[in-house]
């Protein structure tokens, strides 16, 4: 900006250039700061100025993600506290769950996130067609999750365990159903960005919408990563 200023107003060259000098010096200091910081923080050396880089996706999406994370943090805490209060009821309930279903769902969501990450890479490389199919694969893995979860609910209900059975099933259904709804919302968002990817609405230079959708989906995955050990593993 300073350069354009000084070139457009040649009359003020000398005061402008002194300002440029001091600015340049301070920015040397800045860049040195950034460098030492990134070394001490042992950051991945992928990007320079990693301190002040761009946030992937839209800020509004990140604020929404924060709200979601907060709500889930509360639910996880309530579940964990109740488990400690009623360890026997929870141990019995958790032992009745099928660890294989939980494991399969974790693998499905991780794979789904993987395909979404690949899709963003593809669009960054200008390959929207490939990105579209990767997003379809991600939605497919999301569908696998939904099917497994529905079968699991069906099995529990057939055995007579519903939300009124005891405190474990109350929180089990609350927590997993709330997450289930987020998977559905995430799949709708993925379908939306997949269609836009197909229509080449995203380019390597204009990819924010896709990144926003991708990060929402990764958040859904992140939440399941906590839910899986909390509900299925630790009992």
């Amino acid at each position: 900006m300073n350069q354009t200023l000084s070139s457009s107003t040649p009359t003020s060259l000398s005061p402008e250039s002194t300002r440029l000098d001091t600015e340049a010096q301070s920015s040397i200091g800045n860049s040195m700061d950034t460098e030492t910081d990134s070394i001490t923080a042992s950051e991945t050396s992928v990007s320079k100025g990693s301190r002040s880089g761009r946030l992937p996706g839209d800020l509004a999406m990140w604020i929404f993600i924060l709200a979601e994370l907060t709500a889930f943090a509360l639910l996880f805490s309530i579940y964990a506290v109740n488990r400690a209060l009623y360890p026997d009821i929870f141990a019995e309930g958790q032992a009745g769950l099928d660890i294989t279903s939980g494991l399969a769902n974790t693998l499905a969501l991780l794979s789904s996130s993987y395909f979404v990450a690949r899709a963003v890479t593809s669009v960054e490389h200008g390959n929207n067609r490939k990105g579209f199919y990767e997003l379809l694969a991600a939605i497919g893995m999301g569908a696998v999750y939904l099917v497994i979860k529905i079968l699991e609910y069906k099995h529990s209900i057939e055995l007579g365990y519903d939300i009124t059975t005891n405190v474990f099933y109350q929180y089990y259904y609350l927590l997993t159903a709330f997450h289930f709804l987020h998977v559905i919302l995430g799949m709708i968002i993925l379908a939306f960005v997949a269609i836009k990817t197909r229509k080449k609405a995203y380019t390597p230079d204009s990819i924010m919408g896709l990144e926003s959708g991708a990060c929402y989906w990764h958040m859904v995955d992140l939440l399941w990563l906590i839910l899986f050990p909390l509900v299925y593993v630790l009992h």
């Binding site: 950034t34 990764h218 992140l222």
Partner: protein, 109 residues
């Protein structure tokens, strides 16, 4: 220090500030994905252990935190993001894990 150096130093931070951290390559994503699948199977194996100990709880939650860090830094691609957001997302899973560990400390000890 000569002039060309000054100009370079002046332009450099401005560029890197607007610079975008690219997504990881397919290869990096694939390696991370396979690692996460393996870690998940490892934590499922822990579920088969006859009795739950505090060490087991911490091992399982540590695995969770490692997977979460991979997702935040590479899949969400926050490794080049503003520090506020990266730290916030990076600390979320460890923070929740701490709360969970604390509740296990109540009835396991």
């Amino acid at each position: 220090m000569d002039n060309s150096n000054l100009n370079h130093a002046e332009i450099e931070p401005a560029n890197s500030r607007s610079a975008k951290t690219l997504m990881p390559s397919y290869k990096v994503s694939t390696i991370l994905w396979l690692l996460m699948l393996a870690l998940t199977c490892a934590s499922a194996y822990f579920a088969e252990q006859p009795s739950l100990t505090m060490n087991l709880v911490m091992a399982v939650l540590l695995i969770t935190a490692i997977k979460a860090a991979m997702i935040v830094d590479y899949f969400m691609n926050l490794r080049g993001a503003p520090r506020f957001w990266r730290i916030l997302l990076m600390t979320y899973v460890p923070a929740v894990s701490l709360v969970i560990t604390a509740t296990f400390a109540i009835d396991l000890s």
